[in-house]
């Protein structure tokens, strides 16, 4: 079962002990309406909890819960904004970057040997020798940056995949996974926003197929079964979010 595979209970230091891929597949599970996914539900829950943690002043400022909801959505949408570098990283190819470094190094070697064999003195060679020294230092720095970046990428990959040694030829794949997820998240946010706007005008809650109480602890879960025939769960919903 998915729950077992996720190993949500396991605690490996600070690491999340499940595979990112698995989690992303999980939130892609569709609800009974065939349109909304678990991620819609998750976004709604986050939106709700963001709303309830907002201060009183903001309640007065916005006058109603819609303000909360919008703020909550902004929190989720903000993630996509904050991770803009991850999206950029996803578009890179580490092997290509490495080959650029190698090319630059080879060019420098060529220049070095040219300047060694050359017997002629003059402004050209003085100028080039000065450049050579500066360039050697620059390349040393760049190679340091490359090593650092690679070890960081490996650490992130290990964090999300557990075993980087098994990792495929594409070292930056982890960023691609995150980028794709952020893309899906953006769409879900837009849809949830539309659904919320509709629900304020039509009074129907959306993504209800997944709905259980956000504050559900184990005893509450019994209510879920009962609630399957009880469609008037809106009262519970509103009492949660109106605090």
């Amino acid at each position: 079962m998915t729950g077992n595979r996720m190993n949500v209970g396991t605690n490996r230091g600070d690491a999340i002990a499940f595979k990112l891929d698995t989690l992303l597949k999980l939130v892609d599970i569709k609800g009974v309406d065939g349109k909304t996914t678990l991620l819609h539900f998750v976004v709604q829950e986050i939106t709700r909890s963001e709303g309830t943690t907002t201060t009183k002043d903001e309640t007065i400022l916005h006058g109603n819960n819609d303000g909360f909801r919008k703020q909550g959505l902004q929190v989720v949408a903000g993630l996509s904004r904050d991770l803009v570098n991850v999206k950029k990283s996803a578009g890179m190819d580490f092997d290509v970057l490495s080959s650029y470094v190698t090319k630059l190094e080879m060019g420098l070697d060529k220049l070095r040997s040219f300047l060694k064999t050359e017997t002629t003195q003059g402004r050209f060679f003085d100028s080039m020798k000065t450049f050579l020294k500066e360039a050697e230092e620059e390349i040393r720095k760049i190679k340091g940056g490359e090593r650092k970046a690679l070890s960081m990428v490996k650490e992130v990959t290990e964090y999300f995949h557990g075993n980087a040694a098994r990792e495929e030829a594409h070292p930056l794949r982890i960023f691609m996974v995150v980028r794709d997820f952020l893309g899906v998240l953006d769409n879900v946010c837009k849809e949830v926003k539309t659904m919320q706007e509709m629900s304020t005008s039509m009074g129907s809650a959306s993504a209800r197929s997944f709905r259980i109480s956000a504050t559900a602890s184990l005893p509450v879960l019994h209510r879920y079964k009962a609630r399957q025939d009880d469609t008037s769960s809106d009262s519970e919903h509103s009492s949660n979010s109106s605090t």
């Binding site: 678990l38 998750v42 990283s89 080039m128 360039a135 390349i139 720095k141 970046a149 964090y159 930056l172």
Partner: protein, 132 residues
């Protein structure tokens, strides 16, 4: 302006390969020059040509003059490398920095994923119960 015109001719022969300053010539022009490098055979032919220089084509005349500078094309190659160096280093530095920043913002992703998990745990337990 033609690369073989008198202006560039003077510039290349007299200024750039002597000072080694790549700014006197753009990277584009240097690249064109590198591509113009004659083969060994062509080089020997040009060097050994002892006839009237004015009877040669513009390109040949240009090459013959430039070949008088020792290691002319190696110099041009070195200058091309130098002309592109800063931009290439900058590109690489930025790329590696982007990866570094991605690494440094990983906690945002982790925090969000943990949040998803926390929301999903009750849901999963609930489903499990429903199945049982």
């Amino acid at each position: 302006m033609s690369i073989c015109g008198p202006y560039y001719f003077n510039l290349i022969v007299l200024v750039a390969p002597v000072t080694g300053n790549p700014e006197s010539l753009g990277a584009e022009l240097l690249e064109t020059l590198v591509k113009m490098a004659p083969t060994k055979e062509e080089e020997i032919k040009l060097r050994e040509y002892s006839g009237d220089v004015s009877k040669l084509g513009t390109a040949e005349r240009f090459l013959k003059t430039i070949l008088d500078i020792p290691f002319a094309f190696k110099r041009v190659e070195a200058m091309l490398y130098r002309a592109n160096f800063d931009a290439e280093v900058k590109y690489l530095r930025n790329s590696f920095q982007t990866l570094e920043v991605s690494y440094l913002t990983r906690h945002l992703m982790i925090k969000f994923l943990k949040r998803i998990v926390l929301i999903l745990i009750p849901w999963l337990l609930c489903r499990k119960q429903a199945w049982n």
